[in-house]
């Protein structure tokens, strides 16, 4: 007795096994060969961002490959323009900050030490926590890594600049074909579920990435304008840092604000200035919470805020900062998978 009912079932079984083998091989290669995961993840992000733009151009009867090249050309021009105007400023700000960082941390920690000494007699638990020495250790580590890891960061940035546009080009051009190829290998009984699942994941991820980057850009822009008006040094660098850290949910905005507050205190020694800078970061967060999240984000991911906190804690425990960033999107994928399985297997019964 054969395990297959007919020739087609046997053929599909072999195709599916072939797909599973290739998928396992790809996952193993991506996770074992160093420097592969980052460019692939960034290419996926770039693809989700550019996909709607390419679709709009295709709607106007522009060939897809030509549309991608036009977008690349326009983006190169924008990047070149920004680089010409801001690169020197950003690099100068970064290198000055790199030199000033140990002093800034030293002064901030000394001030914190004074505060701690003043209150630890009154509140005994503060002495037990020993916050200042813990912060000192972290600060030394951070400034040391900022000095030593810069060349490595620059070299990995160079490989990203080469690889990400390359991968993104093919994902934009052949994304639909790759999707159809995967679906073609799925066994008939899982085909409709697979198709619906891919569609749901794509839609959720696309919306999620676009919303998160829009949030980061808005927060970064508000912080930049505010710091510029307040006359804080390194405004551009601090705004880019705040925008990027905003991608880490919940604790990201706080960490993103710390360098700005430290710089404000170091250069002005004024409590008022620290207050103004805090207000600027707070304003960025308020705009995010009041406008961006309700208008954009909540419509895309329907997850309770409590659950988001739990997911971030789990993500941080498993994979650190990367885990915190990936926790919510990975949960969205699992949720879409669960929904598909639930509606197709449980409800259908």
């Amino acid at each position: 007795m054969t395990m297959f009912k007919n020739k087609i079932e046997r053929e599909i079984f072999f195709r599916f096994s072939f797909l599973v083998l290739i998928a396992i091989l790809c996952v193993v290669v991506i996770f074992t060969v160093s420097g592969m995961l980052g460019p692939i993840l960034l290419s996926a992000v770039a693809t989700y961002l550019l996909y709607p733009v390419i679709n709009i151009m295709e709607r106007h009867r522009i060939n897809r490959a030509v549309a991608i090249l036009i977008v690349y050309l326009i983006l190169s021009c924008i990047i070149f323009f920004i680089a010409q105007h801001s690169y020197t400023k950003l690099v100068t700000q970064f290198s000055t900050l790199q030199t000033d960082m140990p002093d800034i941390f030293h002064q901030v920690i000394a001030k914190l030490g004074e505060i701690e000494a003043r209150y630890s007699q009154k509140y005994v638990f503060l002495a037990e926590l020993n916050i200042t020495s813990k912060l000192q250790g972290a600060a030394i580590g951070l400034s040391r890594s900022l000095l030593t890891s810069t060349p490595a960061v620059i070299s990995s940035l160079a490989s990203l600049i080469l690889l990400v546009p390359f991968y993104t080009f093919f994902l934009l051009l052949d994304g639909s074909r790759i999707k159809r190829w995967i679906l073609a290998i799925l066994p008939n009984r899982y085909f409709e579920s697979g198709l619906q699942l891919l569609f749901d994941i794509n839609r959720q991820m696309g919306g999620f990435i676009q919303a998160r980057l829009l949030e980061a850009a808005i927060v970064g822009a508000v912080v930049y304008i505010g710091l510029l008006i307040a006359g804080v040094k390194y405004a551009l660098f601090l705004a880019v840092f705040a925008g990027l850290l905003n991608l880490v949910p919940y604790i990201g905005p706080f960490i993103g604000a710390l360098p700005g507050l430290a710089v404000a205190y170091f250069y002005t020694k004024s409590g008022l200035m620290v207050g103004v800078v805090s207000a600027i970061y707070l304003l960025g967060q308020l705009i995010d919470i009041i406008f961006v999240i309700p208008l954009v984000f909540s419509k895309i991911i329907n997850i309770h805020p409590m659950l988001v906190v739990v997911l971030i804690i789990i993500g941080s425990d498993l994979m650190g900062i990367v885990g915190m960033i990936l926790a919510v999107p990975v949960f969205c994928i699992l949720k879409a998978m669960f929904n598909t399985v639930y509606t197709r297997i449980v409800v259908a019964r």
Partner: protein
């Protein structure tokens, strides 16, 4: 295995494209499309092969789209509860509603209904090659090629309207509607 996959048609892209294009050209849903528009649709539909006895979809399952029969025979059937005369207990009985052949299509309601559950099962009676056209494909084509999307959506509306008229006439014939 790779050789077997090759010979089994996994990479025979050109053959599949010709089959799909001919079948699409003959189908009422795509009849208003030009040659260029057909070749665009050709790139987004899915070709599936089924063996005898396999189910294309099952009753009460969420539907994702429609199928066009290129080759083979499909039985559309529903399950209903009947009383077993011997045991006098309720049991499920399968009723064959219709048999569909080459160039027929089925499941088109799922293209427009958001939470539609299949009202019947589609079982393969003779080895079949089907073209699948699904809601995500329709949405994609509406996004990238709105003119084609509009033509297809208009045809779907026409077909569903026609089905409604036919259902009303049938109900009238059976005395449910005056």
């Amino acid at each position: 295995m790779v050789l077997s996959l090759w010979s089994s048609g996994m990479f025979k892209k050109r053959d599949d494209e010709c089959i799909i294009r001919d079948a699409l050209r003959r189908n009422v849903l795509f009849e208003s499309l030009t040659q260029r528009q057909l070749s665009i649709v050709n790139k987004i539909v899915h070709i599936r092969k089924y063996g005898v006895g396999e189910y294309v979809f099952n009753q009460h399952q969420p539907g994702a789209g429609m199928y066009i029969i290129v080759k083979g025979k499909i039985g559309i059937q529903t399950e209903k509860l009947v009383i077993d005369e011997e045991t006098e207990k309720e049991k499920k009985d399968t009723v064959l509603l219709t048999t569909l052949e080459e160039n027929d299509f089925f499941g088109e309601l799922a293209l427009v209904d958001d939470k539609s559950l299949r009202s019947a099962s589609a079982k393969v009676l003779e080895p079949a090659t089907l073209i699948g056209f699904f809601k995500p494909d329709l949405l994609e084509i509406m996004d990238t090629q709105p003119v084609i999307g509009m033509k297809i959506a208009f045809k779907i509306a026409q077909i569903l309207g026609q089905r409604l008229v036919e259902t009303n006439e049938e109900l009238a014939r059976q005395g449910f509607v005056k």
